[in-house]
Subunit: 356 residues, 2 copies
């Protein structure tokens, strides 16, 4: 049975990435060596890393004066790296979900944090609005997509202070105006590659703001100066990311994938609205994520959740169980999820409506 | 042409690891999903992680009261994690090489460091001896194998304070008496798997010594309490490590591989001593590493180095160039290097002697 992988992360990757990574593990470009076995200082790996950096810059139209890094530690390590590098007097954070609040927790360990707004009291079912970014803070941190709740900040905002964004679950899903950001970062395991590597795009002038000594592995300056080779990078994971970037460029880049993503999300949200059994978890339509579509059974049908889960499983729809803090269902429809996957899920929802 | 990969790291891995990892990338145990695409909270991944922990404990005869972790960030991140967790008053370090000195640098950022001995003035061509471990320090840090220089501490030492060892380049190459260590750690990319994961074996009572708040990703306690799942682990790299552990167990474990490693090293060191062109980089025979064999051309033949390098390359002997700080040659003969690889290198050395 064909499976459709709706896992929230680690999650579906393009077949192109999967096949090429498996091949390179057996024999990298006919070298007779595995991509797991080559030195990170070799010309072969240098070419892989540099190509990944180049494609990331090209696909996201990264302006001059920015560096692209591939680092260890996932987004979680950067929750700490960011305040160590940039929190001098005070930092501002938007609390839009569980990951945002983890980033806030790490910053608070180091200094003063101004949480400008939070939707926690509503179990994060919308993006907080009507707040002011304090002009005297060192930076403003946002989480562009909230995987658990299915909310997303879909526009690049203006900020009077450096804007730092955790884009782990929507990077490369739409065009970004990188010039509006001081730094963006993302764990790879949604739209890029396997867990075990994170990408960072940093405006080089941000590095001048650093005032404190810190663990060397925290230092963006060190990583920029060493082109992500201060320590042995996760070479295999970088290789897999490169394959996804090649795939995405072939497909037409972020403009092309954005159109597809909007269409995929529209079809699914339309069905959620139409179907008498389901309702979206996100109150404001404008906040609805195009990457993680969360929905629950209407109050009166709550006891049918297990039945729909069963139907979905029987049709090879994998990973649609909602996060325990939200319940219901979550379809993670990252870049690599084909339209057929959405159609299969919608068909299951329609059939459920008929049978129930 | 058959290639023998003498790279210092990332380095040769067992064919078993390479093949099974490639297969699992295409289809994990017939699940229809790639090992890169499954959730780290899934039963499938839980089984992989738990089996890797179990085999690590079994193969290294880890006593009760220890935890095994698979973490992000390589050994380099643990250079900082160790002082953040355990340096309260003062830490003691042995400076046996460049990696040891990097660990020292990170500890010094946080507190008082007593470097009990150093062989730096001799370009680390031996393991420092005749020092006293200060009984009032919080821990004593050693680097068991010095990849660049080809020296190794081959016996588990007695220490009046918790002994912490970076075993990145010789873990699993010989039996270890884990009970003598408070903590050992190792980047995976020598004897375990691809770069991008590190293993830590920690005595649980060490966790009681922690006195300061710290970045959550630094906290061994957090990682132990979450069974390495505080954040998304590098799942693919953990899978590859598991394959190597299965391979090693099949082969007879550390006792069996130790015998093979001793034999491989003996053959190569014997040839270095016998051959009129070469000389070992390491002055004290007892310090010579069984993992990284460093040797140089004798002073009078220095100008022939490029010629031997050429001969080696023409025979598919990859990665034998010495580190720039030592020069000459380095054959990294980790667990996965077969005896034939050593024989091919020795044959090249003998033929070189005849032709030169």
């Amino acid at each position: 049975m064909k499976k459709y992988n709706f896992n929230p992360g680690p999650s579906i990757l393009p077949e192109f990435t999967v096949k090429n990574t498996a091949e390179a593990i057996l024999n990298l470009d006919g070298s007779g060596l595995s991509v797991m076995e080559i030195s990170h200082r070799s010309k072969d790996f240098e070419a892989i890393l540099n190509k990944a950096v180049e494609l990331m810059k090209e696909i996201l139209s990264v302006p001059e004066g920015y560096s692209v890094l591939f680092l260890h530690g996932g987004a979680s390590l950067q929750f700490s790296m960011i305040p160590y590098n940039f929190l001098n007097k005070k930092a501002a954070y938007l609390d839009s979900g569980s990951w945002a609040s983890k980033a806030i927790k790490e910053a608070k360990l180091l200094g003063e944090v101004n949480v400008v707004a939070s939707s926690k009291d509503a179990n994060y079912n919308h993006i907080p609005k009507n707040y002011t970014i304090p002009a005297d803070a060192d930076y403003f941190h946002i989480t562009t997509n909230n995987t658990i709740y299915g909310t997303e900040i879909k526009k690049d905002m203006d900020s009077p202070i450096p804007l730092i964004a955790d884009t782990s679950s929507d990077i490369l899903s739409r065009p970004l105006d990188i010039s509006k950001y001081g730094l963006i970062y993302a764990g790879a395991q949604k739209n890029l590659g396997p867990a075990g590597v994170a990408v960072t795009i940093i405006r080089n002038s941000m590095l001048e703001k650093v005032v404190r000594p810190m663990p060397t592995m925290f230092s963006y300056k060190t990583h920029v100066e060493n082109n992500s080779l201060y320590n042995t990078p996760p070479c295999l994971a970088v290789y897999a990311c490169l394959q996804t970037l090649i795939w995405l460029k072939e497909l037409g880049g972020v403009n092309a994938i954005h159109k597809i993503n909007l269409e995929k999300a529209r079809i699914l949200y339309d069905e959620i609205e139409r179907n008498q059994y389901f309702v979206s978890n996100v109150v404001d339509a404008e906040d609805r994520s195009i990457m993680n579509v969360t929905f629950v059974m209407k109050e009166e049908y709550k006891d049918l959740e297990a039945k729909f889960q069963e139907l979905a499983s029987s049709r090879g729809l994998v990973g649609i169980k909602g996060h325990r803090s939200v319940g219901g269902f979550r379809a993670s429809i990252y870049n690599a999820m084909p339209l057929e996957g959405i159609q299969a899920l919608v068909a299951a929802m329609k059939d459920f409506e008929k049978q129930a």
